[in-house]
Symmetry: C2
Subunit: 217 residues, 2 copies
Amino acid sequence: MDFGTEFRPLTTQPQEIEQKSFAIIEEELGPHPFTDEQFKVVQRVIHASADFELGRSLVFHKDAVQSGMAAIRQGEPIVADVQMVQSGISKPRIAKYGGDVHVYISDADVAQAAKQEGTTRAIISVRKAVNAHPNAIFAIGNAPTALLELIRLVKEGVAKPSLIVGVPVGFVSAAESKEELMKLDVPFIANHGRKGGSPVAVAIVNAISLLADAEGR
Amino acid sequence: MDFGTEFRPLTTQPQEIEQKSFAIIEEELGPHPFTDEQFKVVQRVIHASADFELGRSLVFHKDAVQSGMAAIRQGEPIVADVQMVQSGISKPRIAKYGGDVHVYISDADVAQAAKQEGTTRAIISVRKAVNAHPNAIFAIGNAPTALLELIRLVKEGVAKPSLIVGVPVGFVSAAESKEELMKLDVPFIANHGRKGGSPVAVAIVNAISLLADAEGR
């Protein structure tokens, strides 16, 4: 196939672009309260959102990064709340340790149960995920109802996640669901406020798997 | 499967959550320069990002919404720059009119050509997409280099997109690529600044297809 070769922007090397971005982020963010490892996560979230306010709003349970890294290296599965989160998560680094990424929200039995109960598919898919993978890393970028249900199942002792990445975005229950999460003594990474979303959840998971892989070498 | 039924948050109806969110957005956004149809797009972007600054930064070419709606109804394909954008786009409304959503960035021939030329897969995948679908709706949420390449192909008369959704996020070339797009007299929806991303591109495309479908009924 002839794709043409005559035109080249100044910076077209993905590695170079990422390094330049990370340098800008470090310079512009300035002083921050994060540990070195937490900062790697924050940096990747800002990289994905170009939003320093969002980066600064991140909150880490003290065990979150270590527990997430250990889970990756032990091949614990990752459960994503929606397809967009699953799409964005870098698979080879997960698969290297035997892990994989699951998403249940589009399953036929989930849709049916949600309809029967008059609730969201997000809630039902969390119940299904916890049944199958009680110790998984849960990455929730969209549905506050999914996060609230996961919190309930943690409180009941049914779910024992290695890490909850709880960063749903939105105007109804998103901020509140994250404040509930921050009350739990489980490994979590969340943020204050309405902002969040799939790329934030993806950035956090990918940062954790990069840290896990760097340490595992 | 027993998913349990004892617990129900106050608002668990997706439609109800969306309507409540849209009402909050309309109230908090206040006066704005957008037409009614453009506002539907802006509203969905704010819904996806919880970011009013991002919503206000949107810029519409005068023909953008109408041209995008017409393209959806004519079954023109949509080209997404990355999998996350493809994942998020609502497919049934596109398929109803004969359209589909393509993404080329993970194709083996794209990776090979990018390596040979020492450039990004994003650039090569745009060339491949334009070859296959010169009149498509292009939805670019991530790669500024993809948008710059598409702009070049428009200037050369090779690409004649029905709509360019140009909202890459980032610190290197993202804002600049969007400013270049805004100089063109082609149907575009873009935004000023570094912010943007997959959910923004998805929200715009889904808003356009909802408008197209509402008018098509």
